[in-house]
């Protein structure tokens, strides 16, 4: 078997094993997300029924994307701080694959898990609201991944910073909250806002899921911008992560917490 596949397999196997072993935690975490959505939906109907009924589609898509973004970001940053606390971070960094590849592979596994639970949550949300969106799976995955990659880039930036400045983890929840704001930015009115992470992707994903557009039916400029944005944010993230790792090694704090 290819050595990179072996790495993927053991990381995925560990993730699945832990999810199954701590099934109650996994289920409770998932249910919390669902209950929180139900509170927004039913509570919103109680307070502003007309507004909620007009925007059920965007609400479902926005919540779906928000939970996935939070998960993609938190899995990466918290994994790094947790591994430092457990004493396993230095062990991961001592892999012949290189620290960046190991962390990237963990992120790929986490993203797959995020997508899997995200899809179940999406179906539950649609069932709860009675609003069935037109979902083209391929388009959803392509746009979804491209939208989440800048978040992964941010995860690498803050994860890399956390390797050097351990206290930075205290701002992680604030960063997660900001995703809701980024998803709600009026990118149609202010084109420059499209350059911010997730804003453009969130807008396109709304169109894919509520208007039923396929990826090849999207304006080519918007799609290229999304691809460019994903690549740039991810590249910046990995660069900062590598600089952070090198800096942590120089200061001798790589495994500290």
């Amino acid at each position: 078997m290819n050595r990179h596949l072996i790495l993927f397999r053991v990381i995925a196997s560990k993730s699945v094993t832990l999810s199954r072993r701590y099934l109650v935690n996994t289920v409770v975490g998932f249910l919390t997300l669902y209950v929180f959505f139900a509170l927004i939906f039913f509570g919103g109907q109680f307070v502003a029924e007309e507004l909620i009924s007009r925007s059920v589609g965007p609400l479902v898509v926005g919540y779906f994307l928000f939970t996935m973004a939070v998960s993609a970001y938190a899995d990466l940053t918290h994994d790094l701080t947790d591994e430092a606390q457990w004493g396993t971070l230095e062990q991961l960094s001592m892999s012949p694959f290189g620290f960046t590849e190991v962390v990237a592979m963990k992120t790929v596994v986490n993203l797959l898990g995020t997508f899997a639970t995200g899809m179940v949550l999406l179906v539950l949300m649609m069932a709860t609201t009675g609003t069935w969106l037109t979902i083209a799976p391929l388009s959803l995955v392509v746009v979804g991944v491209l939208t989440l990659l800048p978040v992964v880039g941010l995860g690498f930036v803050f994860g890399g910073a956390a390797l050097v400045y351990k206290q930075i983890e205290k701002v992680f929840p604030l960063i997660q909250l900001s995703f809701a704001g980024l998803l709600a930015l009026p990118v149609q009115e202010y084109a420059l806002l499209k350059l911010l992470p997730m804003s453009q992707g969130g807008h396109i994903l709304q169109r894919v899921m509520t208007d039923g557009l396929r990826v090849w039916e999207l304006p080519i400029f918007d799609l290229m911008l999304l691809v460019g944005q994903s690549v740039v944010y991810l590249a910046i993230g990995i660069l900062v992560f590598r600089v952070g790792t090198a800096n942590a090694r120089k200061r001798g704090v790589l495994g500290h917490y």
Binding site: L7, Q91, S95, P96, G255
Partner: protein, 335 residues
């Protein structure tokens, strides 16, 4: 790309450290943790790295492993320059650094071994027999499917050692491998480490505060003090150098007050204890001339010698001598 060479290239020294220096800038200014140290380790050697707290052991180990970037100096493992080609070097080295904390507590013993083997690109499914053998050797068979968090600290330490062996690297660094181990394992592990070195040609570097273990297991000892190497020799040679130099002297009656100061000024007085009608001290004397001079001082002070016993030093005596008194250079210990 992540090349893995099954047969490492032939080199005289599997670990080579040259002019290694690490300085940190802390709140109190610039601190030199490791000061221009050099040493080579040959294949199949078991080397003990000793030193009091703050001597620079951990920084040395982490710098050799590429986890800390040196201020100056070079490290190579199996000919691979660690700080220029870190990933490639990790094909040849693995480590237990924080013992029980180096494993995933929520994974079982078997799962930990499988994960860390995979982290080194080794398919755990093809190594099931080897992993079972490691688990058996470490006495963990009955606990193989138990999450590590349910195990004792000593057992977790064994799991950490097991995950290092599962990575199948020719060089192992073990930081305090005996910490928390039960009596039985502490007795068995040295035999296992020697078997690994002699039968599997593993090169092992151990840091430990347990001098008995180091003395029992290691072929060679490197003693660090204040970031510098104060001794680097075989255990036997180190013991020989300090052999016949220390004496326990018992006096009858209370000696004059100036005697202690006089002996301390002239020789290395290691300890001094007086009772109501006796005095006892331990003294290091270099050669017969100093021995006779000491006796003469005692006679001049009209002290009555009750007994003089030559002390057989163990590694702990050597260590205390090296790290609390003046530094002895490797050249001196070799002479």
């Amino acid at each position: 790309m992540c090349p893995r060479t099954t047969d490492p290239p032939e080199h005289d020294a599997v670990v080579s450290v040259s002019a290694l220096t690490k300085r940190y800038t802390g709140e109190t200014g610039r601190v030199t943790a490791v000061d221009d140290i050099s040493f080579d380790i040959q294949s199949g050697q078991i080397v003990g790295l000793l030193g009091p707290n703050g001597a620079g052991k951990t920084t040395t180990v982490k710098t050799v492993l590429g986890l800390v970037t040196p201020t100056r100096g070079d490290v190579s493992i199996h000919g691979v320059p660690v700080h220029e080609a870190r990933s490639r070097a990790y094909n040849y080295v693995s480590a237990v650094l924080e013992g029980a904390r180096n494993v995933y507590w929520r994974l079982s013993v078997r799962e930990n071994l499988a994960f860390f083997a995979g982290l080194h690109g080794i398919d755990p499914r093809t190594r099931a027999d080897r992993h079972e053998a490691i688990i058996d050797t470490l006495g963990l068979t009955a606990k193989a499917d138990e999450p590590a968090k349910n195990l004792s600290r000593g057992m977790k330490q064994k799991v950490a050692l097991g995950t290092t062996l599962a990575r199948e690297t020719p060089v192992l660094f073990l930081d305090e491998p005996m910490l928390g181990l039960d009596v039985e394992t502490t007795r068995d592990l040295p035999t296992e480490l020697q078997r690994l070195a002699h039968e599997e040609d593993k090169t092992i570097v151990i840091t430990s505060h347990d001098m008995d273990i180091i003395e029992a297991v290691c072929d060679r000892v490197i003693v660090l003090s204040d970031g510098d190497i104060v001794a680097d020799d075989s255990v036997d040679n180190l013991l020989d150098v300090f052999q016949s130099q220390s004496y326990r002297v018992q006096l009858t009656g209370n000696p004059p007050a100036h005697l202690r100061e006089q002996l301390n000024t002239r020789f290395k007085l290691l300890n001094w204890r007086t009772d109501t009608d006796t005095a006892e001290f331990k003294i290091a004397l270099a050669g017969s001339e100093e021995f006779y001079e000491c006796v003469e001082i005692l006679q001049t002070a009209e002290a009555t010698i009750r007994s003089v016993t030559e002390i057989e030093p163990d590694l702990e005596d050597v260590f205390v001598e090296l790290t609390t008194a003046e530094s002895v250079s490797p050249e001196e210990t070799e002479s």
